[in-house]
């Protein structure tokens, strides 16, 4: 760089040439195109249809030691609910065996004196519930559903007896932005961020490492090409590919999965472009540091997909993590993009959310691209 070599042709021409070279390489080995277009479609299809936190038809064992009208009414209340598919077990021992075999997830047990205690004024009849606690989250939801079924039975029963049936305090919950709590509406936008992190980083993680391995980077360095031109020449074709994949994913989210989109399209395009730059920049940085395709791909897997899945707030709530870990999540760019996507899709343009998260992504993108530039120059000198 230091020697003032005579330049042939303008910078734009050289960059155009580089972009063309990189584009040709992409077209000849179709695996990059597959990464950009096939991967998001396949992943969104599998996850969009496959991943759901809304439990339905939870298998339930129903045991009444002394079956009567009351127990039949309670059974009907569970049977009517779409949350359960109850099966009547002859006794508690059978129901326990079903729970151990994973044939049912929970047992509802009415002891033999249930009806007697129910009709005695000063006594409360205990309804025994046993849930399989291995999947703690599902177990908690199952408990809540059982409680709701029991509550509706109790209300019907007291109303039929002509008494008022209310609890002292009644909770009226209103859920904004996603009133039915459809988990798909929040999982699909989150998935776009997770998938694009992966794709953006994968696209670029291998390109520089491959050139190092084959020794073609040194060859490129002795040409009049400058480092900025080289980086831009590498980034532009993959940026175009990545935006194509992003557009495809958003289109699928809106038209295939029917996720409502309340925000502005131009904000989505702008923030997506910025997010893609953070992912591409990270991939580029990895490939410059690793210099070998094996190490680059392993680092890309470890530092992109898994953090975007676990540390971005996609499934696990960031606010509930320990403090040191919450600080670590600030480095995960998917964290910001997921918040932006959730807000744009489900709530609309909320400036107080969009600004800080966009600026954070800008900082990460600038950091990785500047770091790549420094690193590549250093490693040559």
């Amino acid at each position: 760089m230091s020697s003032p070599t005579p330049r042939r042709g303008s910078g734009w021409m050289r960059m155009g040439g580089l972009i063309r070279k990189e584009s040709l390489q992409i077209i000849r080995d179709p695996s990059s195109i597959a990464i950009a277009f096939l991967l998001p479609v396949v992943l969104l299809l599998i996850f969009g249809y496959g991943v759901s936190l809304n439990a339905k038809h939870i298998p339930l064992a129903f045991v009444a030691d002394a079956p009567d009208m009351e127990s039949a009414a309670l059974y009907a209340s569970f049977n009517h609910s779409t949350y359960f598919s109850p099966q009547i077990a002859p006794n508690l021992a059978t129901a326990t065996r079903w729970l151990l075999n994973r044939r049912v997830d929970a047992i509802v047990h009415l002891p033999s004196d249930f009806a007697a205690q129910l009709s005695t004024a000063n006594q409360s009849a205990p309804l025994q519930v046993i849930v399989n606690g291995i999947d703690a989250n599902q177990a908690r939801l199952t408990q809540a559903y059982i409680q709701a079924g029991w509550q509706s039975w109790l209300t019907n029963r007291t109303q039929a007896a002509g008494q008022s049936a209310h609890q002292p305090v009644e909770l009226a919950a209103r859920i904004w932005f996603n009133p039915e709590l459809r988990s798909r509406d929040y999982l699909v936008p989150g998935l776009i961020a997770v998938i694009m992190t992966l794709i953006g980083a994968l696209l670029t993680a291998l390109v520089m490492a491959r050139e190092w391995e084959r020794g073609t980077l040194e060859a490129l360095m002795v040409t009049p090409v400058q480092i900025n031109e080289l980086l831009i020449g590498k980034l532009v074709p993959y940026f175009v590919l990545g935006m194509g994949g992003m557009a495809l994913s958003v289109a699928m989210a809106v038209w295939l999965f029917g996720v409502p989109f309340l925000g502005s399209w131009w904000i989505l395009v702008l923030t997506s472009a910025l997010f893609l730059l953070t992912a591409l920049g990270m991939g580029l940085f990895i490939s410059i540091v690793a210099r070998n395709q094996f190490v680059a791909s392993l680092i890309a897997i470890i530092t992109t997909f898994l953090p975007a899945f676990m540390l971005s707030g996609f499934i696990f709530d960031i606010g509930s993590m320990p403090g040191w870990l919450q600080n670590l999540t600030y480095l995960v760019s998917a964290r910001y993009f997921i918040v932006i996507l959730h807000t744009l899709f489900l709530a609309g343009d909320v400036a107080a959310i969009l600004w800080p998260n966009t600026l954070a992504m800008l900082a990460i993108a600038v950091f990785f691209i500047a770091a790549s530039r420094r690193k590549i120059r250093k490693s040559l000198e």
Partner: protein, 369 residues
């Protein structure tokens, strides 16, 4: 024969561990990730930010608010004075929910009218919203029980007594950490095996290997050994840490666990070698690894239950070795499952392993270009 296989396995280890960078990426990150993800991956919420709009201000209303704040799940971040502030607090995600206590709360309570409390929840993250709502329901139910016992009303006709088996406090970490063990083992083994043949293909040394006296079966075994050794070593370390550092109970037998691990490694190595044999360049092998790895993790029942998936996706999970290994790990850790009760998880793993290894061996020979 064994001499040749061992020589090949040693060469594989050298290729893998010679470079200090690749030595580090095989050993370091899985351990760091175990630490990070085990703390991150929990569905138990704490410090959920709530805003309180207390229009009543009486004793009963304060007692209800105190119950929310004292539960450990909620943290009050704002007191709202006007109705119009609610939407700002929720829109800007200053608070996940607003607890709106009406001006007649205590009067209704004392006159035995239903005292309604409104809860406004940000549903953008529907899972967090559902969990927070269930916490709130429990707190209000507790409040009601206490109110009914301290105020001479009639006893409720029925009560629910709940017990959770295998995980009495419903700690989701017990459920998640065994799952992380499976994920980390899969990632390491896939990377080690899937890239091994593809790298040799790209460098042209695989053709040389094929013209040596080594039989394809011997090549297959030689390529599989590093995966086994690394998988078993890392798996053991990770499991040791899961039990010692994260206090996940270990109820079952170590031997049953190692049988399960061996069969799981067999199937993972089979798939890895098959991807490796199909790919002509390293980049294609990496793509193949991803195309397998990501669905294998998400459709394993790790974070979202398989039972919630539509039937055709449930059928698809039958070819996913992670599905079986998740059940094995959680069964042995939490339930103390015996060898017999896990049989139906063992044989599919063995079958997947045999089929994929046979396919890989066949592809070694027949995919020349």
């Amino acid at each position: 024969m064994w001499q040749r296989i061992i020589a090949l396995a040693i060469k594989e280890f050298q290729a893998l561990l010679r470079d200090p960078k690749s030595r580090f990426v095989i050993v370091g990150p899985p351990l760091i990730q175990l630490l990070v993800f085990s703390f991150a991956a929990t569905f138990d919420l704490s410090n959920i930010p709530i805003a309180v709009y207390n229009q009543d201000g009486g004793q009963a209303a304060q007692a209800l608010v105190a119950r929310f704040e004292g539960s450990g799940h909620f943290k009050s971040v704002a007191n709202i004075q006007r109705e119009s502030e609610i939407s700002r607090v929720i829109d800007d995600q200053k608070a996940l929910m607003v607890l709106n206590i009406g001006p007649r709360f205590e009067a209704d309570l004392l006159s035995n009218q239903p005292a309604t409390v409104q809860l406004i929840i940000d549903g953008r993250n529907s899972n967090t919203a559902a969990i927070a709502l269930s916490y709130a329901n429990t707190l209000v139910a507790d409040f009601n029980t206490q109110w009914q016992t301290s105020h001479p009303l009639r006893a409720p006709p029925s009560v629910i007594v709940t017990r959770a088996w295998f995980n009495p406090n419903l700690e989701s970490r017990w459920f998640i950490v065994p799952g992380i063990v499976a994920i980390l083992m899969l990632v390491v083994v896939m990377v080690v095996t899937a890239l091994s043949v593809a790298r040799e293909r790209e460098q042209g040394t695989f053709d040389q290997l094929l013209v040596t006296p080594l039989h394809p079966v011997e090549i297959l075994i030689g390529k599989a050994i590093p995966g086994f050794v690394i998988g078993f070593t890392e798996g053991s370390i990770i499991i040791f840490l899961a039990v010692k550092a994260f206090a996940v109970p270990f109820e079952g037998h170590l031997l049953t666990l190692y049988i399960g691990m061996g069969l799981f490694l067999l199937s993972a190595i089979g798939i890895g070698l098959m991807i490796s044999a199909l790919a002509t360049t390293l980049q294609q092998a990496v793509l193949g690894v991803f195309l397998f790895l990501v669905p294998a993790i998400i459709l394993s029942g790790f974070a979202t239950p398989i039972a919630n998936m539509p039937p055709f996706v449930q059928d698809l999970t039958l070819i996913n070795p992670m599905r079986y290994f998740m059940i094995i790990l959680r069964g042995i850790f939490l339930e103390g499952s015996s060898f017999q009760s896990l049989q139906n998880q063992f044989w599919p793993l063995a079958l997947i392993g045999i089929v994929t290894l046979a396919a890989a061996g066949w592809l070694f020979r027949h995919r020349m270009n």
